[in-house]
């Protein structure tokens, strides 16, 4: 049984699964990045401060920490922090774009106690390189997978699905399988951060009518190949294939509501604590520099409203993913990215469409305002150029230039 599989009814609330942004510094400047990563935040935690956080996590009985960024390996204390977590019997995983993951770094990660690494791959080469805003990014990600496997680490992949890459899923599965990936996480690109600047990229709620069954079919196919596909928290909910979608393999698992602040915690690189790593800044209750994690960590407040207020599954679903609903609707508790909702509306000959009506401010995890339009299911599809990944107007919106590729071989020479 995995460390992340637990009985949410029987177990007492604690931060079992922590996603920790070590730095916002990044060697990519991805078009869909929710945190707008590129340059470090002001006042990021030093290695010494991070090591104190490790001690707190151990006291709170954390089971697993996923180190992210930006790129986690661009934090000076990356390996020391991983090693400290391992020494406290906390499983360590890393999520990366892979650009700087050389064989030397992979070996160093293994030596430091990292157990597995998930490489972000957002489509086949054309779509991936466009979304990641860098030619060669796809090849680099595949090379990272090879390096990770070569070092004896567990390797997985994760993919953000959007209108730019949704047609790639089946072909991408074959690429990943042939590359030796045995676990693949798929989630929706939410209009958060830079993705909120590129609303052409964002899926419309009715896109789930075709997308979710495709992912379920792909999951069944993958299971036969020995590959586990799992949905991210913002992909669902309660369509007819719910148990297939949500169970690791077989089983009758189903969505049980957002676990932010219940069993999940996010830590921002400046010490901000929130219930989930993708939650907006408004959910940060304070910094580890000033207060204990136990004092800061809490579930986000939300009340179901709109469709979710009267939904048959509302009491157990609780409006789906909190940060995704907030990103679309400005507050959580009413989530148009819902398979059951799209199917219910479709049965009435209706669908919902997101219509942007302004720009996001340009801060990490920020949102743009949307109108939610209800229209006939067969309404004409808005014409959108496939290749367009152009930001909507915001004079201050300027993605930071990607940093030059790091030289991990120099930094992480054993």
């Amino acid at each position: 049984m995995t460390r992340r599989r637990l009985d949410v009814i029987a177990e007492a609330r604690h931060p079992a699964y922590v996603v920790w942004e070590l730095t916002l510094r990044c060697d990519h400047a991805c078009a869909h990045c929710g945190s707008r990563a590129g340059v470090a935040r002001d006042g990021e935690l030093s290695t010494a401060e991070a090591l104190r956080v490790v001690e707190e996590l151990a006291q709170l009985e954390t089971r697993e920490v996923v180190l992210i960024g930006g790129e986690a390996y661009l934090h000076e204390g990356f390996l020391a922090i991983a090693r400290a977590l391992r020494d406290r019997s906390i499983a360590v995983a890393v999520t990366t774009g892979g650009r700087g993951v050389t064989p030397a770094l992979a070996i160093a990660m293994k030596d430091a106690g990292v157990e597995r690494v998930s490489v972000s791959i957002d489509g086949l080469e054309d779509a991936h390189d466009a979304i990641r805003a860098r030619r060669g990014s796809f090849a680099g990600a595949l090379a990272a997978i090879d390096a990770i496997r070569g070092a004896g680490l567990g390797v997985a992949a994760n993919t953000n699905v959007n209108r730019r890459n949704r047609d790639d899923l089946e072909a991408l599965y074959v690429v990943l399988r042939e590359r030796g990936v045995r676990a693949w996480q798929i989630q929706l690109t939410a209009p958060l951060g830079r993705a909120a600047d590129r609303t052409d990229m964002i899926l419309q709620p009715y896109d789930l009518l075709a997308l979710v069954p495709r992912i379920v079919a792909l999951k069944a196919r993958a299971a036969a190949d020995g590959v586990t596909i799992m949905p991210g928290n913002n992909l669902g909910y309660f369509g007819p294939e719910e148990t297939t979608l949500r169970s690791p393999s077989g089983g009758k698992d189903h969505w049980r509501g957002c676990q932010a602040g219940r069993f999940v915690m996010g830590i921002e690189s400046d010490g901000g604590v929130k219930g989930c790593p993708s939650l907006q800044r408004a959910y940060v209750r304070g910094s580890v520099r000033d207060r204990s994690i136990a004092e800061l960590w809490a579930p986000p407040e939300k009340t179901r409203w709109g469709f979710c207020a009267t939904c048959d599954f509302g009491p157990i679903c609780d409006g789906g993913c909190t940060f995704t609903a907030h990103a679309i609707m400005g507050r959580p508790g009413n989530n148009p990215y819902c398979h059951y909702r799209a199917r219910t509306l479709a049965a009435r000959g209706l669908r919902e469409r997101l219509l942007p009506r302004g720009a996001a401010p340009g801060e990490p995890f920020d949102c743009a305002p949307f109108d939610l339009i209800e229209e006939p299911l067969d309404a004409p599809e808005p014409i959108v150029a496939r290749e367009r990944l152009v930001r909507i107007t915001r004079s201050s919106a300027r993605a930071p230039r990607a940093l030059p590729a790091p030289d991990p071989a120099a930094r992480y020479r054993p």
Binding site: V66, W184, G226, T228, M230, P240, G251, P315
Partner: protein, 121 residues
């Protein structure tokens, strides 16, 4: 507040107990059979980060299709040039002059990759 879910025998979809018909396939209530019981209390914690779960259960030992790691140094053949000695693997410290290529770079001692060896005359 929570609700009890039952599974529709016709389509397999979950439905709140007490529903008159399946919310997915519209079949009527006699087809509701199995209550989703204790197993469904298990939840796999997910955020949009990290390796998906199931990996360790299904693949307790990550295995590359090629190569072995008989010496347990974490590097498989053919990347590991000596699978019988855990002190030898790419990136290992390579003492100069001991006649052993511990770092698998083809020479004894550290090789400056910027220097191209002149061919022997």
């Amino acid at each position: 507040m929570s609700i009890e879910l039952v599974e529709c025998d016709a389509c397999g979809g979950l439905v709140p107990a007490g529903a008159r018909s399946c919310l997915h396939c519209r079949r009527s209530s006699p087809f509701f059979a199995r209550v989703i019981a204790s197993g469904a209390a298990l939840l796999t914690l997910m955020a949009c980060y990290g390796a998906p779960p199931g990996y360790w259960r299904d693949h307790p030992t990550p295995v590359a299709p090629e190569g072995t790691d008989a010496d347990g140094d974490g590097v498989r053949t053919p990347t590991d040039c000596n699978d019988d000695d855990a002190s030898i693997y790419p990136g290992a410290a390579d003492a100069d002059g001991d006649g052993i290529d511990q770092s698998c770079d083809g020479v004894d001692g550290w090789r400056d990759p910027s220097v191209v060896a002149a061919p022997k005359s």
